[in-house]
């Protein structure tokens, strides 16, 4: 085919296709999906696939997205990370005699939420000790908007120390001690221990100082100042605050919330596009090419060869796909790669296409121009590829698009059963995790809805494209 012809036929095609509203919509969706898949490293972070299977340290687990606040009357604190730029250094290492030094910094937190952060984590304080047996001392004090000062923690500071204030027993004791003065003394005497172990530390810290602070704390909004004082005891001990990080673990996180491994679901959704598109399109294209090749060859060869190839096809087609795929997936469990899955799907899906291609090829074979080509001494390959294939190609393109949804859904189903590639970020796998962690019963909607919608979107895109292509390229099949 010459270049001009190709250009002309593409022009013709576009002229027809333009009038398919559904097709244009599908095309727009396809561009959006491709854009997301290609832009994944820029939309999120480039190292998502490598760290996806791990627990994401520092993030809150199973919290809804930030925009959830627009739909609730009680506001939930978002996830915030304060770096050293957000800290105010009050003392950069004042010498207080006897080899002791005093470092101090503070940070403020504006609490405008009904549900304050679930945890406050202070980490990465650069500590260099000359003698490991004499650690530094750290004192964390909170100044609340109502003027009350609470010493939350007074403990040792060593290299690599991480302070998770909500999980720390000492903080719990201190906070309980402080809060119990507002409660009914009788209640404290009766159920003090249970109250202490069940109270939500940060809710109390950020709660109104009134009766009920332990059982049903009401948020006190305003500016909170956390003062951190560090004392070193030996000459030569060094404290470096430039890497210090404070994490205010949110009750909401990012665009799409997090799952039980504290992973950012938004990243998972964006990266999942790649797998879904790649698997869907590869399977569809390979399936159709193999199917057409098989069908055309069978039709062209005819006679007992055709008969044999058709028997093989029928035999293969009568194997139920999904149960066998599940079984094969289980046999390779744990070390299935995406390409194995692609290969298996192609191996089972080509039969239907081969049947249609054969019947089409049988008709074309009887055309006079094919007879003419045979009379001119054209070889088998030339006739198949030059004369029969081009006639079938329109059908092939439509079939490719129409085969994508099935492949996408099957891949998702396999991942959902836990049989997918464990190293890949896939939507099916996110839903598998959701299912094993009973996300539906616990109402983690942000974990369940988006991945399924994404799968539906990809499948729907190709259904739209496929039906429009079918209408344009196979006008004979047009119904009505």
């Amino acid at each position: 085919m010459r270049w001009v012809d190709l250009k002309a036929s593409i022009k013709d095609f576009w002229f027809e296709f333009r009038r398919q509203k559904g097709g244009l919509f599908g095309l727009a969706l396809l561009f959006l999906l491709i854009f997301t898949a290609l832009g994944a490293p820029y939309l999120t972070e480039p190292d998502i696939p490598t760290k996806w299977s791990q627990y994401w340290e520092g993030n809150p687990t199973t919290v809804p997205p930030v925009w959830y606040n627009y739909f609730t009357t009680k506001k939930l604190a978002p996830h915030e990370i304060l770096t050293s730029n957000d800290l105010r250094i009050t003392s950069p290492g004042e010498d207080i005699g006897g080899g002791m030094k005093y470092y101090g910094f503070e940070f403020t937190y504006e609490n405008n939420y009904d549900f304050p952060p679930s945890d406050i984590i202070i980490r990465n304080i650069g500590v260099k000790l000359t003698d490991l047996n004499s650690p530094a001392q750290i004192v964390i004090t909170l100044v609340r908007p109502d003027g009350i000062k609470i010493e939350l923690l007074n403990t040792e500071l060593r290299e690599g120390s991480v302070y998770q204030l909500a999980k720390d027993g000492k903080v719990r004791n201190a906070v309980f001690q402080w809060a119990s003065q507002f409660e009914n003394p009788q209640k404290i005497a009766q159920a003090g221990e249970t109250l202490k172990s069940t109270m939500d530390t940060t809710k109390v810290i950020f709660g109104k100082a009134q009766e009920g602070i332990l059982t049903n704390p009401e948020a006190l909004k305003g500016t909170y100042i956390f003062q951190v004082d560090i004392f070193t005891f030996r000459e030569g001990d060094q404290i470096d605050l430039s890497t210090t990080e404070t994490i205010l673990s949110g009750r909401t996180y990012g665009f799409m919330g997090t799952d039980y491994k504290a992973r950012d679901l938004w990243s998972g959704l964006v990266w999942g596009t790649r797998v879904s598109l790649t698997v869907g399109v590869t399977v569809a294209v390979l399936t159709v090419l193999i199917g057409i090749f098989y069908g055309v060859t069978s039709a062209y060869l005819g006679g007992w060869k055709d008969e044999f190839m058709q028997r093989v096809n029928e035999f293969w087609a009568s194997i139920p796909t999904l149960p066998i795929l599940i079984l094969l997936g289980a046999a390779f469990k744990g070390h299935v790669s995406l390409w194995t899955i692609v290969f298996l799907m192609v191996a089972f899906y080509w039969t239907g296409i081969a049947k249609v291609a054969r019947s089409m090829a049988l008709q074309i074979k009887e055309q006079t121009y094919v007879e003419a080509a045979i009379a001119l001494g054209a070889g088998t390959g030339r006739i198949i590829f030059k004369h029969i294939m081009p006639q079938i190609m329109p059908y092939a393109f439509a079939a490719m698009a129409l085969n994508v949804p099935g492949a996408v859904l099957t891949e998702a189903s396999l991942s959902f059963l836990g049989l997918g590639d464990p190293t890949a970020v896939t939507w099916g796998q996110i839903l598998y995790d959701a299912q094993t962690q009973s996300a539906t019963i616990n109402g983690y909607w942000w974990w369940v809805i988006p991945p399924g919608l994404a799968i539906t979107l990809v499948a729907f895109t190709f259904v739209l494209l496929g039906i429009s292509l079918d209408r344009v390229l196979n006008p004979r099949l047009k119904r009505l």
Partner: protein
Amino acid sequence: MGYGRYITIRLLNALLVLALVTLLVSVLFTKVAEEDIRSSIQEQINLKLRSNPELQRQLAADPAKLQEWYQREYNRLIHVYELDKPFWVRVIQRTKDTLTLNFGNTKSPIFGETAVGKIISKAIPRTVILFTTAQIFVILIGLLLGVKAAQIAGSILDKGVSIVAMVTSSIPMWWFGMMMILIFSFKMGLFPSGGMTSMPPKEGFAYYLDVLYHMILPVSTIVFVLFGGWAWTTRNIMIGTMQEDFIMAARAKGVPERKVIYGHALRASAPPIVTMTIFSLLGSIGGAIITESVFNWPGMGRLYWTALQQNETRLLMGVTFVTVALYLIAMIIADLAYGYLDPRVKVGASQST
């Protein structure tokens, strides 16, 4: 070619498929099972040593003796589990066992049984109940909507059916089930989130009502995802038939429109519709199986899920074998039904073209 021979060829083909699939599966799983057994043998020996302090004391004194005891124990267990036989003998044995429905036992009891055959025979009726009920609704709604849409082709209803069909065929059924649980069970609290009965099960008539109540969510999930595609297929077939000459003839001779549609057109469209029914039924088995496990329905789907989660290879083999067998039976029925409804179609008919 006679009908009898047609059936025989179909049956033989199905049996061959079943046998070959089983063989293939046996090869895979003999390999998997071997690794499983080897690690379990290690565990058993260690357990035996640990639970017997007398033996421990004796062997601790003499490392050579320990080695010898270990080897003897290992060889004994290898023999018990028949790992000393050649690979192919084991594969053939397993194929034979599976084909004669000897699936063996699971490691831990499921539905209160350990024999795989019994577990499966408990699960099948439950799946059939759920699936048949849903399918009856799908067929009824699909047929009515499809015929209606074909009758007024191009109308809003017709376009609506096409759009619904396109959208629902893109939805993973099991995900839709999760959504149903999220909305109707978690948010609204109207229906139970899973299971077939309340715990503990009720007695007498209340039991059946309870099962029906538990069926509502899964059945509506299946119906919602499948009815659109059904209606669309029916519509397409019907539109094809409605353009035939005999319909025009019927109309011309004054047959009432209702009778033209339901008497003539639908009757003529029956063969493809019936086959489509059975094939779409088969196609949706996979999705429905996974959906079942989402709703914790104690049927075949749950068995798949449990087998995969707990590494019950024997159960998985049994379930797969039964599914494949059922699938093949349904396929034969589809073929026979088609051959019955449309006598032109017989095996080998393509040869004459």
